[in-house]
């Protein structure tokens, strides 16, 4: 058996995890007890076990997989396009000052406009369906990528470029050895922000103008007052968000070994 002092040590070492789990368990228990005793309305609030039941039901029927896949597809297509276009535009505007002067007002205006405000217009242009949602994801994640790439390229000091030139680095070598590695941390930050914004884009677009997908699924369940199912949707989206930001954090760590913490 573990003795007294060493178990205290164990607690200290795992303090963070322990208290984190404790907080979650406490809140879930309160919630469950609250709805079971009738203090909270289980129709409106559902309950942890209610969510589990909803999950059993929905995954048992299997339709939910289609909605998840649909949302993921929109997300992936939108994000990949945003990454390609965003990094390219960011490099162009960061490198050529005149390009920056031309693009800067547009970037400022469009970055300040909530993309959601464009959804009615997109529905007029593209109708309700996959591509409207893809474009929402694309637009919402595009600007963090452009802006961060741009700042990254601009902040890659003339200093290091001077060093590269003094060693006779070709234009190409200047890019591969200075501009790209120097701006990579900024680009990754942009991509991480974009990945999170993109999720918002998927859900909001589907809530407004979806006929499939997780947002649509939640909307539908909401109309039938199935709060457990709505919460299940929230839970799936939440886990997805945690997963995405974990992955992006790993990627950033991998590419930023040279950076002091």
């Amino acid at each position: 058996m573990v003795g007294g002092p060493s178990s205290a040590d164990w607690v200290r070492r795992h303090e963070r995890l322990l208290f984190g789990v404790l907080g979650i368990v406490a809140l879930l228990s309160l919630w469950e007890v609250g709805t079971a005793t009738g203090y909270l309305s289980s129709t409106i609030m559902s309950s942890p076990t209610g969510i589990v039941r909803a999950a059993q039901l929905e995954f048992g029927r299997g339709e939910i997989w289609g909605h998840i896949a649909y949302s993921l597809t929109e997300y992936a297509i939108g994000l990949v396009f945003a990454a390609v276009v965003g990094v390219s535009v960011g490099f162009i505007a960061g490198w050529w000052q005149r390009a920056f002067f031309i693009l800067d007002p547009w970037i400022t205006i469009l970055y300040s406009t909530p993309t959601v405000a464009l959804v009615p217009l997109l529905i007029i242009i593209l109708g309700i369906g996959l591509w409207t949602n893809v474009v929402v994801v694309f637009l919402i994640s595009l600007f963090p990528i452009i802006v961060n790439t741009l700042v990254g390229v601009q902040s890659t000091g003339q200093w290091h470029l001077g060093v590269a030139r003094s060693f006779g680095a070709t234009q190409r070598k200047q890019w591969t050895s200075v501009v790209i590695p120097g701006s990579l941390p900024f680009i990754l930050t942009g991509l991480r922000l974009a990945a999170v914004h993109g999720m918002v884009g998927v859900v909001v677009a589907e809530l407004i103008a979806g006929n499939r997908g997780l947002g649509f699924f939640m909307n539908l369940a909401g109309q039938y007052l199935q709060s457990g199912t709505v919460m299940l949707g929230i839970l799936i989206i939440g886990l997805w968000g945690v997963f995405i930001s974990e992955v992006m954090k790993r990627v950033e760590d991998r590419f930023e070994m040279w950076r002091p913490d």
Partner: protein, 278 residues
């Protein structure tokens, strides 16, 4: 006729009537360097001292080929400098290592630019990393090294391309006083082993006298040559030589000329700031 023997006797570096003028943001023209003439011999360690803003760093950039002078030209080995070349390698001030590259990758940078293969590059830089005392740090990133170690990497990076002329732009300026002394001594050791011609820019009189065969004293802006001093201290030089009487005499002679220049520069600077504030 123009064979290696006659070439070694010719001037390594010859700067003729260098004039450097540039336009500031407020459109005023500034004369940074005014008719500068300078020659060095093969294997010479030449320092340029002067008050800050006297154009000494600009002069070095002109020699490196990074900046074009308004008038005049620089010849190295009889060829006019128009652009950077590996035969003139530069050791920069403090934060000039590529932070995203390891020590090895930084030192190999110049070779990579010349298209030398990775295996050959690592063969060539191994002894250099050894020489600057950084063995075992090959795979460290610059942020993991102290300031002194970073400047050793900087030096090794310049030496790796096997230049004829080593251009050093206040490489120890950002180091603390003790580390700087040690680095100076080590630089001399390495210089003796490699026998490069060195053009060294500094604002530290002490550093210039200790390292150099010859010290050029530059005036405040516009930079002109005030004095050209042959330093006849015996080599190899220990750090203790800095306390010798002849050393102090050199220092004194240079400081006497610089003092008024520094004051002049400070007054000009104050005047400019006052006018700028209006």
């Amino acid at each position: 006729m123009a064979q290696s023997s006659s070439q070694t006797q010719s001037n390594k570096l010859r700067a003729t009537d260098i004039r450097m003028e540039y336009t500031r943001r407020d459109r005023t023209r500034v004369l940074a360097i005014d008719r500068l003439n300078l020659e060095t011999q093969e294997g010479e360690f030449l320092s340029v001292v002067g008050p800050s803003g006297c154009g000494k760093s600009t002069f070095l950039k002109i020699v490196a080929g990074l900046v074009q002078p308004t008038e005049g030209e620089v010849e190295v080995n009889g060829e006019v400098v128009t652009k950077p070349a590996p035969s003139r390698a530069m050791v920069f001030q403090d934060p000039s290592l590529f932070p995203w590259y390891t020590v090895t990758q930084n030192v190999a940078y110049g070779l990579a630019c010349q298209g030398v293969s990775k295996t050959e590059a690592s063969e060539r830089i191994g002894p250099l990393i050894e020489m600057v005392g950084l063995r075992g740090f090959d795979n460290h990133y610059p942020y993991e090294l102290s300031g002194g170690m970073q400047q050793r990497v900087n030096l090794a990076r310049a030496l790796a391309v096997n230049p004829d002329l080593l251009l050093m732009d206040e490489p120890f300026a950002a180091l603390d006083a003790q580390t700087r002394e040690i680095m100076q001594a080590e630089l001399l050791t390495i210089w003796r082993q490699t026998s490069k011609t060195v053009l060294f820019i500094t604002h530290q009189i002490n550093e210039a006298v200790y390292l150099s065969d010859r010290v050029i004293v530059m005036s405040a802006r516009p930079g002109k040559i005030l004095d050209d001093i042959q330093v006849d201290l015996p080599r190899p030089r220990e750090l203790a030589i800095k306390r010798s009487e002849s050393f102090l005499r050199y220092e004194e002679r240079i400081w006497r000329q610089l003092e008024s220049e520094v004051r002049r520069e400070m007054e000009a600077d104050q005047l400019e700031r006052r006018q700028g504030g209006e």
